[in-house]
Symmetry: C2
Subunit: 380 residues, 2 copies
């Protein structure tokens, strides 16, 4: 499974035919949809969109390939940003960190990468994958390694299902690059890459998991980029009509609004390069009298009220502004925001027994097993 | 100056003729001499000697080349251990960390390394350089990048005099490897490599500064391996006759005993991967009534009494046991030890204006300029 270092040295480049293309008009929808799917993390949609628009206007193209169109022997590299989301707001980036990281892996392996596989779906990282593909002149996979955003590299489906843990490359805004090799445990990669990221200023460009098309097709969470476009378009069309219309649009992708309220407390700290904390929300409208708290580690993990857990990782928990339907990332949570709590069931790729070892509640330190969203709830 | 990444790709291997060879009988002398020259750091002489003896008995050879015998176009890599000395006592190593690090640089640069350049002189790192050369089948330079031990990579003469700051490779006992590129500031390399070392368990094997023979010859502190042999032999011969005889043997290499006393206080903490602190020594015999303190950061930096500074970095300050003449490394300092304070003037390579920027007292946070050892003292 995946492309090993030695096998990669002898192969020729494989041509990948794109299935569709992202236009400038799609960017706002992708930014919105991906940020909602980013469950509070996944990076900054605003800066990501600016970078993507700039790339398109400079003549780049974002050519998208469906997982089922990937030839078995094509070579992909997963790429995206790594770090505490808040740091990516405050650091001035080169803008080509991920490109340099992919090139470092190409040089190390002595192979050419044919396509870019998004690391995660999220406002920042979906755009980073597009820009990386655009700048490298490579197609981008319609799918990703998380089907949402997650805080740790050990939570990437490309790795969970057996892809190569190393080499991986990190690049910072000074062009400093670390190529990591000799690692076969995803958690060991996570801890070493995280430490380097913190030293690099808490944010870096990452390329990893150089794999063949067969592995990408079977291990990715498929078609999350087209899902982001559809979700973004539906929410954009609904948001002028208010929170109930957005909830209905959300329902069209299998999601549900679980709670409406006002943020009354936010606890947050940066620990080991992560943004960790919890937010308390007091009910509004139909939810007056209830109180829900959401725990997060870069991304939202667990939503609960006094009766118990309402939704839990890996299911997708997003908070969106009740007035604008803009998702509120965990670093932007603030007292007084009026938010809707939206939940989408996780992709089946994330809920196998194997995947839950890495992305279930216990992987985040909780002492209970995953229960699918909506299972314990009465239908609306 | 030095070999750049691109130039290295096109060269053929160069044969280096060794000038002399280290035998098993030399190891104890090198361990003792190098540990004294290691000024309280430089790693564990005991474990280093065991590794070197094991390598010799397995048929390896430690072939030594004088700096003046290096062809201009030979390619050398500096190699040694990095980390808090105390960690190298407690971690079980692979034993080939530096070998893997050199190989990672060879693979990255697409060149063959012809000889090993010791990173620093010290009980551990002199032995590591020998073992690295022995296992790789390469000769070892009689000289090093510090002329003593220092706590930071920015203090290596190969870099101070313009050698390439990157690529550098770090390898831990699990075989995890980080190849660092795109760095041209020695202090930036130091901070990134130090962070990675801490994550790797506070000790790692390091290879760096791939350079040509012309650069190694002009930038190294020359003939420190042969100096370690001579010093070790002289001290071994003198130590049965007591502290005064050892002091006389020490004088034969230009050193001097500055103080005799008993350790009465040790303050030490591990900060950012460094062992930092100070030791207070009450005078004995001819020094009764005086009190000297020595500050250290892995290595001894400053010795002073109430009248002022007696000796300062980069001059070599070593503490040796008064009974056995064994050097006491900073992590072994303990209340009640009776020690002699020995000082050797630093090599001229360390006292140029350029070098003092990196290894003088101000580089360690002290607010005074370097004054050569013995200058302020009346002759004995």
């Amino acid at each position: 499974v995946g492309t090993t270092e030695n096998a990669a040295r002898t192969r020729a480049a494989v041509r990948v035919e794109p299935d569709w293309e992202v236009t400038e008009g799609d960017l706002a929808s992708i930014a919105l949809g991906a940020a909602i799917l980013g469950t509070g993390g996944g990076g900054n949609p605003y800066l990501g969109t600016l970078r993507a628009r700039q790339a398109l206007r400079a003549g780049m193209r974002f050519l998208i390939v469906d997982p089922d169109s990937l030839p078995d022997d094509v070579v992909l590299a997963a790429a995206g940003g790594i770090g505490a989301p808040v740091a990516s707001y405050e650091k001035i980036e080169r803008g080509d960190e991920e490109i340099l990281a992919v090139k470092a892996l190409e040089a190390h392996l002595g192979t050419r990468v044919d396509a870019v596989a998004p690391l995660e779906v999220g406002g920042g990282n979906s755009m980073r994958a597009l820009v990386t593909g655009g700048l490298l002149g490579l197609p981008i996979l319609d799918g990703d390694g998380m089907g949402r955003a997650f805080p740790e590299l050990s939570m990437i489906t490309y790795l969970i299902y057996g892809g190569p843990v190393s080499p991986a490359a990190l690049v910072d805004e000074h062009g400093r690059c670390a190529v990591l090799t000799g690692i076969d445990d995803p958690r060991s990669l996570e801890s070493l890459a995280r430490t380097i990221t913190v030293e690099m200023g808490a944010h870096a460009g990452l390329a990893m998991c150089v794999m063949d098309g067969a592995h990408a097709r079977t291990s990715c969470v498929p078609r999350t980029l087209s899902l982001a476009v559809r979700l973004g378009r539906a929410v954009t069309a609904a948001r002028d009509e208010g929170s109930d219309a957005v909830a209905a649009a959300f329902g069209a992708v299998g999601g549900r609004r679980l709670f409406q309220g006002k943020i009354v407390d936010v606890r947050r700290q940066i620990v080991g390069g992560f943004s960790r904390g919890s937010v308390a929300i007091e009910g509004l409208d139909g939810d007056i009298g209830r109180r829900v708290t959401v725990d997060f580690q870069n991304e939202n993990l667990i939503a609960r009220d006094k009766a118990g857990v309402l939704a839990m990782v890996p299911d997708l928990i997003s908070l969106v502004d009740r007035d604008t339907a803009e998702p509120v990332t965990t670093e932007a949570l603030r007292y007084g925001f009026r938010v809707d709590l939206l939940v989408i069931p996780a992709s089946p790729q994330l809920t196998t027994q194997r995947a839950l070892e890495f992305v279930g509640p216990r992987a985040f330190g909780y002492d209970f097993d995953w229960v699918p969203a909506f299972n314990a709830l009465s239908p609306e």
